[in-house]
């Protein structure tokens, strides 16, 4: 990615091979500071208030549904025999999956030296946190008696009972809480230098106080940067297997059982890929409007969208591969229950979830990203992202409800019908998620200023012709 060492002689006539700068229009450090801090420092625009009012209202109604469900009981939901898990776990898996893109961008791409991540990692990480918050609601409340949820914690107690550490649901508790905690630490660590920037620009006392407190007195000293970079690298290093493990553990909830369509060994990587797939779609869903509204096109460039689209294509293709393997092995296994379950997925009562959600939204729509003009066309990208957002929810729904609604005994067969509480709890979490994200872009820098500055050419002391680093000349420039 080191564009400085690319020799101009070779690339001048072959434009596509030149590394496109990550920040366009030769912006300098102070422009970046102004533009990104400006989003926080300016008065909240009218559209912000309008949107926030709407989302906060939805969120409030969602919270009301939560309260109603907790005080009345899980009977307010539509799940019953044989569909004992339905919208609750669907939403849980959906939201936790959304979160994965943030950690992928912030940790995995960091380790892969993908510097383009710096433009989007902050908001993606924030999105992760909010998505995990929304996710954590559902396993919390689906137990019915929420006030007993502390049974999950391994605390010495008067029952002499300990959690069953061999249960995948217990793994979930550890995985999700660890994921949230580590994501918060990672996010906050990354925020510290930017909070210091805001602190130094603050004009009002209250801002000076608050940003000052949370900036922990950051001075940008190199002795501090030294440890800070190491800590950031290590946090990225441990977040990477963590993000793989979280959705793997979520998949274990299903795959350790013996239910047809749930018990299949490819679930862990398949769920992880699906999570990143859905998560990136959500990142783009949020970033495309944000970059237009806040005029951040120089920082979040078409190149960024192009690369994210490629990741959607990659993960979408892996998801397609996993679907294929599931169908193939279901047939190959010769197990009639397994075969029936997959036949039922395609032609059963929930057929359209498969045709629309899985086939069209998840398998086919991302294939558009094979073509460059699709990746470069904002409207196509947005369309595919919306398809994927919906498709991934449908996928989880069809895995869960589709797996349960046809029991081994035909006499137990049934259907699932959501109640208004089901529906509004989910819509409510959409409201909570969006509200939190709107608050985030109002009060915190949505792009990691200190990290974007690194990718500018002048940030590298070795760029340009200095005494001990003369410009590099390419060989092989003579053409025959």
């Amino acid at each position: 990615m080191d564009s400085a060492s690319t020799a101009p002689g070779v690339i001048s006539d072959e434009k596509p091979l030149a590394r496109v700068p990550l920040v366009l229009n030769k912006r300098n450090f102070s422009w970046l500071t102004e533009r990104i801090s400006g989003v926080v420092e300016q008065r909240a625009p009218r559209w912000w208030w309008v949107t926030f009012t709407i989302t906060a209202t939805i969120a409030t109604f969602g919270l009301f549904c939560l309260g109603y469900q907790i005080s009345t009981g899980v009977g307010t939901w539509g799940l019953n025999h044989p569909v004992g898990w339905a919208w609750d776990i669907t939403n849980f898996v959906f939201w936790i999956g959304i979160g994965h893109a943030g950690t992928l961008i912030s940790a995995i791409l960091f380790l892969l030296r993908q510097k383009w991540r710096t433009s989007i990692n902050r908001s993606a990480e924030a999105m992760t946190l909010f998505a995990v918050m929304c996710a954590a609601i559902f396993p919390g409340i689906h137990v019915g008696r929420v006030w007993m949820a502390w049974f999950l914690a391994p605390v010495p107690n008067s029952w002499g009972v300990w959690p069953n550490f061999r249960s995948p649901l217990m793994w979930d508790v550890f995985a999700v809480s660890t994921y949230f905690t580590v994501s918060v630490l990672f996010w906050y660590t990354g925020l510290i230098p930017d909070l210091a920037t805001l602190r130094d620009r603050a004009t009002s006392k209250i801002k000076k106080l608050l940003f000052g407190i949370f900036a922990v007195g950051w001075r940008g000293s190199n002795r501090n940067w030294r440890h800070y970079e190491m800590a950031y690298l290590l946090l990225a290093g441990i977040s990477t297997p963590l993000v793989l493990s979280v959705h793997s553990v979520v998949s274990f909830d299903f795959a350790t059982s013996i239910l047809p369509t749930w018990h299949t060994t490819i679930f862990p990587p398949y769920f992880v890929a699906g999570a990143i797939f859905g998560g990136f779609a959500m990142v783009l869903t949020l970033m495309i409007p944000a970059r237009a509204i806040f005029k951040l096109q120089d920082i979040i460039t078409p190149q960024h969208i192009d690369k994210m689209a490629k990741i959607i294509l990659l993960t979408g293709s892996f998801v397609t591969y996993a679907y294929t393997m599931e169908f193939f092995m279901a047939w190959y296994s010769g197990n009639q229950y397994e075969k029936f379950a997959f036949f039922n997925r395609v032609f059963g009562p929930y057929w359209w979830y498969w045709w629309v959600g899985m086939l069209f939204c998840n398998m086919l729509s991302p294939q558009l990203f094979w073509f460059k003009w699709c990746r470069r066309n904002i409207y196509v990208v947005y369309f595919v992202c919306m398809c994927v957002n919906a498709g991934m929810w449908f996928e989880r729904f069809i895995i869960i409800v589709g797996g349960l609604h046809r029991d081994f005994l035909p006499s137990s067969w049934g259907m699932f019908y959501p109640t208004w509480v089901d529906i509004w709890t989910f819509i409510g979490t959409l409201g909570i998620f969006t509200s939190l994200f709107l608050l985030f872009i109002r009060f915190l820098p949505m792009i990691a200023m200190s990290e974007v500055k690194i990718v500018l050419p002048e940030a590298n002391p070795h760029h340009g012709p200095t005494a001990d680093h003369p410009p590099l000349v390419a060989t092989g420039k003579e053409r025959t």
Partner: protein, 241 residues
């Protein structure tokens, strides 16, 4: 830009951290102790309509538990005595004692006395008195020294962990079946020769128990456990059916 924060704030994190450690430790300990009540209802001693003194009836007069709690060894539920049981004696004895006025009133009206229940097992726990009493678990094990109580109180915790103590290691509590209702029984009371003659001794013990001067609770319990083939359930559905 001058320093916005005064200099003393530099020590604040350390102070907060130290206080935080104490507060967190304190809160954890408090939650552990009070939030998970190991001593559930221990010491609970409600005022009863009639202050029935177990110590007088059992220790002084030598009544058997089963005289009043007459189904304890045949039914899952141990019954409280009805008024008629009381009046078997109290038509003769203490018939003018003012403390017994509620009993006499009940006897006249036929309306039962409203005893306050002291030992209460939740409805999701299936507890069978006869199963325990007939297999060498004394009343004492769960109700304490009830034969010395002027007024009954809750002596043992009755938490699930407490139940499991015995279900995992019944040998620490078992006693000869004829001593179940003898609440003052001690392992030392057992005569080894007689005991061995009646119950035998554990299989893989080389020592001859009948030659010993005294038997310990574990030795007695182990013998009885094997003799009666006692395997208390420790799975969930043993009690939560």
């Amino acid at each position: 830009m001058a320093n916005f924060f005064p200099r003393w704030t530099n020590w604040l994190p350390l102070k907060v951290a130290i206080c935080g450690v104490f507060i967190v430790c304190g809160l954890t300990a408090a939650t552990w102790y009070y939030g998970t009540p190991k001593y559930t209802r221990v010491g609970y001693q409600p005022i009863q309509p009639v202050p029935f003194p177990h110590d007088i009836h059992v220790s002084q007069l030598g009544m058997d538990c089963r005289y009043c709690h007459s189904f304890v060894d045949v039914a899952a539920h141990s019954n409280l005595p009805n008024t008629q049981t009381c009046m078997n004696c109290h038509t003769q004895v203490q018939k003018d004692n003012p403390k017994l006025e509620p009993v006499r009133a009940s006897w006249k009206t036929g309306k039962p006395i409203e005893w306050v229940q002291v030992h209460r097992t939740p409805d999701y726990v299936f507890y069978n008195h006869s199963a325990h009493v007939n297999r060498g678990i004394s009343c004492f094990s769960c109700h304490g020294e009830i034969n010395h109580m002027p007024v009954v109180y809750h002596a043992k915790p009755h938490s699930m962990a407490w139940c499991l103590e015995c279900h995992r290691h019944p040998e620490n509590f078992l006693r000869p079946d004829d001593q179940v209702f003898n609440l003052d029984w001690k392992p030392d009371d057992v005569k080894p020769a007689e005991f061995v003659a009646k119950y035998g001794q554990p299989q893989n013990v080389s020592e001859d128990f009948s030659k010993k001067k005294k038997l310990t609770q574990t030795e007695i319990g182990q013998t009885l456990k094997e003799r009666w083939n006692i395997k208390p359930p420790i799975n969930c559905q043993g009690c939560h059916r």
